[in-house]
Every structure is written in structure tokens, then in C-alpha cells.
Subunit: 149 residues, 8 copies
Amino acid sequence: MTLKVYLSGEIHTDWREQIIDGSKDLDVSFGSPVTDHAASDDCGVAILGAEPNKYWHDHKGAMVNAIRTRKGIADADVVVVRFGEKYKQWNAAFDAGYAAALGKSLIILHRPDHAHALKEVDAAALAVAQEPAQVVDILRYVLHGTLPS
Amino acid sequence: MTLKVYLSGEIHTDWREQIIDGSKDLDVSFGSPVTDHAASDDCGVAILGAEPNKYWHDHKGAMVNAIRTRKGIADADVVVVRFGEKYKQWNAAFDAGYAAALGKSLIILHRPDHAHALKEVDAAALAVAQEPAQVVDILRYVLHGTLPS
Amino acid sequence: MTLKVYLSGEIHTDWREQIIDGSKDLDVSFGSPVTDHAASDDCGVAILGAEPNKYWHDHKGAMVNAIRTRKGIADADVVVVRFGEKYKQWNAAFDAGYAAALGKSLIILHRPDHAHALKEVDAAALAVAQEPAQVVDILRYVLHGTLPS
Amino acid sequence: MTLKVYLSGEIHTDWREQIIDGSKDLDVSFGSPVTDHAASDDCGVAILGAEPNKYWHDHKGAMVNAIRTRKGIADADVVVVRFGEKYKQWNAAFDAGYAAALGKSLIILHRPDHAHALKEVDAAALAVAQEPAQVVDILRYVLHGTLPS
Amino acid sequence: MTLKVYLSGEIHTDWREQIIDGSKDLDVSFGSPVTDHAASDDCGVAILGAEPNKYWHDHKGAMVNAIRTRKGIADADVVVVRFGEKYKQWNAAFDAGYAAALGKSLIILHRPDHAHALKEVDAAALAVAQEPAQVVDILRYVLHGTLPS
Amino acid sequence: MTLKVYLSGEIHTDWREQIIDGSKDLDVSFGSPVTDHAASDDCGVAILGAEPNKYWHDHKGAMVNAIRTRKGIADADVVVVRFGEKYKQWNAAFDAGYAAALGKSLIILHRPDHAHALKEVDAAALAVAQEPAQVVDILRYVLHGTLPS
Amino acid sequence: MTLKVYLSGEIHTDWREQIIDGSKDLDVSFGSPVTDHAASDDCGVAILGAEPNKYWHDHKGAMVNAIRTRKGIADADVVVVRFGEKYKQWNAAFDAGYAAALGKSLIILHRPDHAHALKEVDAAALAVAQEPAQVVDILRYVLHGTLPS
Amino acid sequence: MTLKVYLSGEIHTDWREQIIDGSKDLDVSFGSPVTDHAASDDCGVAILGAEPNKYWHDHKGAMVNAIRTRKGIADADVVVVRFGEKYKQWNAAFDAGYAAALGKSLIILHRPDHAHALKEVDAAALAVAQEPAQVVDILRYVLHGTLPS
């Protein structure tokens, strides 16, 4: 069994690398959005032409990014969404809702102080973790039935 | 044609009333989450028993609320999601993602200063408005083909 | 908003009547399996012809009952499944799994001593209650946002 | 043609091994829940943190296990569910209902004395067997069209 | 609960009238194909223009009839398919397969001497009856839980 | 049986009125796009704010119109698409493809000289007509089984 | 592009072999029901236990065969159904209806004298052929765009 | 991640070759309709028999081509549709609508002068490009997150 896991959300820390590194011995294939912030913001206009209006600049980029994120989520068995300390991160919550409606298994990753604000998102999840290492433990358990010692 | 519209998101201003009042002469049926903040937070424990742990207190409430919100979104033709000035409002973005994955027509309502943070959410919408009156104008146009004079 | 609620499971106590009576002032339409035990067991052979083999006797009845239960679950917004004190009640758990796979909002109703044995079923539910009155409270809250005083 | 088969239900006898051993020469890939009872009960708290309340202890574990079982059932062509002699086994019946609603081919495995209690579950199945060897015979027939001599 | 029932198959006897008459006191709405044989054969060319080639004459009619039969089956809760004594009746078996794939509850109506030839069709059904009166008994039981006296 | 019919395509002749008038005695409910050309072109900017760039002017309008057309097609049993003599009418062909993918019964209405260019569209249809009166004849036949005299 | 083709229907001539042989140089994977008539009739009782009643003997076999045929059709891109000269062949028409409802591309194979009786089945097909060699020509064209010389 | 891309629409220029050549270093698999115009027009009659009536000649061909195009679109992650300078190209717009209804990521490729006529098609797309090289840039960005330098 190969587990397909999509890593959505916060892009300012190395949580994705921690999960991918920790899963090296597991049969998991990972997907994620483009995490290069500048490229992600500008991809629309860089490829399809400049827009003087910032709204349409953003819009063209968000649409191109959606080609990747929709496929990533649609192909996944498990969608992990991390909420970081800063920013609104509405795209993370949007991805969580999108994945929930498709019946994907959701794992939400956040610090305890965000728990109240994330209660509706957590309520749609099969696991709520605080540390990337816990996500690795879950993936290992799901694949092999072994618990962390 | 009756249009079924679900009004999701911010609960601290009267935007829902503005839309419902403005649509009085239209064949629209509206749904919404429970907007009584205290009831919404406590419904789980008030009905199903107290929880000493705040996380499970919240969780029980979020699950009971999901009975209403899932039906509200599933039954809707159009889902309007308003993002206010304050708070994280991750449940609003979650609802937007959930509705998008179900193929609902999305209208997003927010002030221009949130545009960059909401670009992925806006990119999934068929209309992005700033004022409740614009939502009424859209509903009137969708039903009757008439534009505001 | 009319809420369609299917009441599945135990047929030896008056829990369905309690819920239906308690919901008299609510806009709820209820469905349920045939709760006349003898009719439910014999409907297949009574209508379609006797079977000397008890297995096929049961099978014919279970199939005819499935015409009703499948429609009941498919039409419902909310599926309530009650597990009683006695018997295997595998059909109740089967209905819960069936409803969960269809994305229905599940409410499970059982005494605390069954909690461990029902943990997988409860994990698929949006509410786990012990008393029929709690189900009524949930339905009232879902429809009107009001909590029990 | 590779047949994907998920083996759900009773975990106290070696019925899974009998089927897997008997199918060694067949193009079948098998999935199953975690069958280490202790790990299965404790996976939630072992990974995500202890819960003083037994209900939430169980709940966290059941949710983590659901990541594996949902994928197992969703990926399967055939779901075999075995009901043993003891325990309530509501999770087995839940899996059967879940698989039935997804349109999976169901094979139910149980002793004759459970036939009446399982009649609704059996009625959703394409085969009802008593011995693991019969399941192997079915898989061989489905793949190669050959009957046991 | 209104039960929507589609009556497919044989058009040379009055079995539909028997079922509809017998169900007069039941909350059932019936659908059926056009049973005027000549109109059914010629509807395509009568409306859309003559075809010298008999194959396309038939084809145009079959396509126009499909507008009605597809809606009839898609809208139904229960699809009854009757196989008569004569003719190939491949359209009846086609409708049964179509309804089965949509998850409709199937009732097959035929004389015992067709049982072997219809075994795959019967295997997809929830009831196999010989007489129209048995179908009425099933509909009454499904709606009211009462058996024929 | 009420038949829900969506009338898509050409907006420069009175073909919709002809069909609606001809169906006055039939149980049909009709839907259509906004056929006021100017309103349809300008609805986006009139409601949501002006755009100096013609592309985004058009885009905003097309998105708002999609709220109506998507619901119209999704709710329909039958989608009639008329191709007129002039213009590219790519939105008509788009609607036909959209409706085909949703499994709607398609009726295509066009003059014979467009037959070759429309062969892929016609191939997805259940009827290809030249005159609005033929569509009325089809609707009457589908509802009542009667042919034009 | 690998094309998955399921060959349903008549089992008394070598039409499957003709198609498979003719497609040796094409990237096609073929599926089919068990075509050993005796094994197909007896598989249920041979594996799951004898039935004195012929109806249940047939039923058990038809159910076991359905495990194979449902997967075969569900996995296929193209379903070819051949109707032979003899027998009722209701299972062939059932498979055609089942495949049509799943949106599979249907090719029907029969002699011209069956055209009128098969008109509803043919109307759901993308191609109606008379000879197995024509099916091979279609598969080659679909894969490579080349026509028979 | 392999990206499956279907290239629909205009067949008179080498835009497909430009995209395929430009993507040589990317993990993309391409599909397309048969682009040999004569073969595409005649495939139906060449394989299944001549038709004196041009309409049925075209129809048979369009149906056989649909076997390929439906699979191509259904299998794709991304559907690119190019509108050229000439012809009605209704099949291109039909494919765009079909792909949109299936939730595929759409990229539309056309010259600016067609923008107004294509506004409804563009509104369903995630990217609107003018040059094949831009499509290659999008595919590279979607796969690797790198922008054109």
C-alpha cells in the first residue's frame, strides 16, 4: 500500500521537510503546493501577461496555482493541513474544507492556542497534531500498525 | 425558480439581515449557521454533557453545528461567504472550500484590504463583492435578469 | 428547512416514539424501518412464497426490508442509530456504516457501557447521545439554534 | 487482473492468514485493519497525547484507525467481513454497511448459527461463506474461472 | 413517504394497470415508458422526419423514447421490470441493468420458467415476483409495514 | 411528471417563445439564460464595479451569468440547445458539452447546413430538430405518448 | 494509452478470441465473464454448498459471477456486448444497461436481423457492428487513428 | 507526479507539436483526438459500413471518435482547448464544456480577438493563454514551481 499524502498550508517553516525526512523508510508519496512564495504570487502574470490591477494580478496567479493544488488534493489519500503562528492562512482552511467535502482523511497540525479558532476545521479531521513528528508517527502506524516506542 | 442561498461566515454585523431584507421581493430561501455565538460555542456540552477539557468542549459543539452547516451547504444553489474585519474566520474559509468542492456557486464578500489574503478563495468564486447590497443585486439579476438602475 | 431524520436500530423500546413526540413542534419528517418484528421477519415469504430453508426465508425478508431501509437512509439528512442493551444488532451497525459512506449526519444513541464496543461507530458520528431527549434537543438546536433551558 | 481484497472483522483467529496463504498463487493484493489489538486501542493516545477520559481515549484511536480502514475499503474490489463467535463486532458490521454503500462486492464469513442475526448484512453480500477456504475458492474462480476439484 | 415506482418491460398485458389499480390507496407515483407500440416505434420519424433506412427509423425512435425512460428510471425509488412470455425483451433487461447500476431497488416480475435465463437479472433484484398482486403487496409493506392477510 | 427543460443558445430569434407557447398545455417548467444581450454583457461591472480592461469586463459578466446557467442546466431533465445562423455561439456548444457530461437528455436545434460542423454535438444528443415546433412535439410525446397528427 | 475492454455476452462462438487475436499488436487489456458454461452455472453451489432448489442454485452462482462481471465492467473504458443467434441473452442486455448507466463507451455486436429488437440497446451505443473484425478496427482507430485499408 | 494533459480543438496548425516538444523534459503524458481530418470524418463508414445519407455518415464517425475523446478527457488532469482563426469549432467548445462539468482544470488557448466570443468558455478556465509556449510554461510551473526566466 502506497499512501498518497498532500501537505497543505503554512510555507514559512520546514514542517514539510520534517515529515518527508521522517517518512523516508515509508511507502508514502508526497504532494504539496508551490512553496516558493514569490513564484506562487507571480506565476499568473509571469506566464500569462502583466496586469496593472493588483486584484487581477493575484487572481491569475491563484488560478494557475489551483491547477496544482486541485490535482494534489484530488489524488491524495490523506491531506495534512498546517496552520502556523502568523497570517490569515485562509487558503489552508479552504483546502481543508475542499478536502473534507471530497471525503479525504484530514490531519490538522497546529499549536494549542489556535484550537478554539480551528474547532470547525478540527471537527472534520481524523487527527489533530501539534508536531510534524506526530504526523510521521500516524503515517507509520497507518502503513505498518506500529506505534512509536 | 427558487434560489437556495446559504449565508456563511462573519456573525458580528448585520450583513445577513441586509441581504435577506433586500431580497424580500425575490424567490430566494436562505439558510445560515446558528449565529448566536454563545449557543454555537456551547451547544455540544449543553445537550450532550459537560467536558472538563476545553478542546472536547469545543469539539462536541463543532460537531453538532456541522449537522446544520453541512445540510445548509449541501442544499444550497449559491453559497455566500463573508469575511469580516476581525478574527481568523477559518470556519468561513473552510465552508468556502467545502462548497467549492461540491460545485456550488460561490459569492465571496469582503473589503478590498483582504483581497491578497483571500486570493485563493476568490479564485474559486463566481463573484467577489464588497457590500451586501451587491449580493442582492446579483440574486435579482440571476432570478430576473434585471440590473440595478 | 424541513429536516429528514431516519431512526434506525433497536426496536424493543419506545425510543422512536419519544423522539417523534418530543419533536411535535419541529419541522422534522421521520422515517424508520418496519418495527413489527414478526412482519419484518416474515415479509419475504408471506408475499413471495414460502421457503423450507430458514436461510432463504430470512434472506427474502431481508431483501424486501432493504427496499424500505435504503430509501429511508438515502432520503435522510440525519440518521439516528440506537443500540439497545440486548442482541447483536448488526443491522443497526450496518445501517450506520451505510449512512456514513453516503455522507449522512450520524447521531448514535447508546448507554455508556457500550462505548468501547461502539468506538468505531461513534467515531463516524457527529453526536453520541444516551437519551432520546438529547436527540430532540439536537434536532431543535439544528433547526432553531435554541438550547435546552 | 489484480483483485484488491480487504479483510475486515474478527481479529482473534488466523482466518486472514488462511486466506492469504491459500491465495499465494493468485494475483490478489490484500488489505486489512491493524490487527494488533493493543496497538489498535491505544494508537490515538500513544501518538497524539493521553486522554484521562476513556471515551476520548477510544475516540482518538478509532479516528486514527479510520485513516487506514477507509482507504482499505475505498481501494478494494472485494471486501470480506468475518464475524466470529464472540463480542459485539459492531465495527465489522459497520464496515460491511460502509462497503455496501460504496458498491463494493461483499463476501460475508460466519458460522450458520449467526445467520438470522446477520440476515440484513448477508442480504447485501454476493457470497456468504463459512470457511476461509471458501473465500479462496471464490477468489480463484473470480480470477481464473476454475472450480475446486 | 411517497414511493416513486417505474414500471418497465412487457407491454402486451395489463400488468401495469393491475399494479396501479391495486395501489390506489397507497402513496405511490408511477412512471412507465410509452406503451403504445406503434407510437413508440414511430415517434422518431413522425416528429423529426422520415428515414428510408429501417435502422435509422428505429434509432431515431429509440433515442426519443430514451428521453422518457431515462428520466423515469432516474427519478424512481423502485424499478419493477416485467418479462413476458414472448419476444426478446432486451430493452427490459437493459433497463434492469441501467437501474441496477444507479442503485435503484429492483423488483423483477416473471414466470418461473424464465428463472434460469433471468438468473443474473434476478441476482441484482431485491424481490422476484410472479404476479402483479405481489408487487402491490410489496409496495404496501414497504409503505405501511402490513402484510397480506 | 413535470419535465424541467432548459433552453440554451441563440438569443436573436423568438424560438424560446415558440416552444414555451406551444407547450402551454404541458406540464413543463422552462429555464433559460438571461436573453437581454446588453444586460448579459454588462451584469458583472454594473453590479461589482467597472473594469477598464475589456477582458475583465467580460469575465466578470460571464462569471455572474454562470450562477444562473449552471443552476439551470443542473436542475434540468432536458437541455435544448439552439444554434442560429450567425455568430460563433461557443457558449451554446459549451452548454451542450456541460449538459452531456452531466447526463442530461440533449435536444439540438439547427438548420441542416450546420449539420457537418455540429456532428460531434449532435452525436451527444437524443434528438436533432430543425424547428421549435418539433421540440414541442417531443415534449408532448415524452409526457403523454401522443404523436402529432 | 492502454484501452481496457470488457467483452460481454454470447459464449457459444469464438468471437472473443477473434477480437483478442486481431488486437495482438494493440495496447488493449481484455476482460470477460467466465465463459465455461458449466462452471458459470455451478460456481455458487460448488464453492458455497449445494441447494436442492434450482432457483437458489442459480442464484448463488449468479451472485458469485457478479463479483467478476461488476469489476470487469467498472474497470473498462469500452464494453463490447455481443448478441448471438440463440437464447434470450438477458444477461448481455443487462450488462449493456449497466455499462450505459456507468457512462462506459458501448459497442454492440449483432446480426442485422436482431436490429429492431435491439434498437434501445443500440441507441445507447457509440458503435453497432456485425463482425468481430470491425471491433478490432475500431480499437485500432481509437488507439492509433488509422483506418482499415 | 505525472500530469495527464488532453489537447483538444483546432487541428490545422502545429500547436500540439509545439506543446509536446516544449514539454519533453517534463513528466507529462498527452492525449488528443485523431487529428487526421479525413480519417476522423470517415472512420464510421470506413469501419461500420457506408451511409448514403451524409448526416448518418457524419454521425457514425462522430460516435466512433467519441470513444477516444471521452476517454481522453475523462483520464486527463488538465484539458487544453485551442480555438483557431477559422471554422465554427463547436466540437472544441463542446469539449471545454464537457471537461468543465467533470471538474477538469481547463486551459483555453486563443488569440485576443476571440476573447469576447469565448468569454463564457474562458470563465470556466483556470488559465487563458495565447501561445503554445505559455501552456508549456504552465505545465512546467505546475510540476516544478519554476517560472520562465
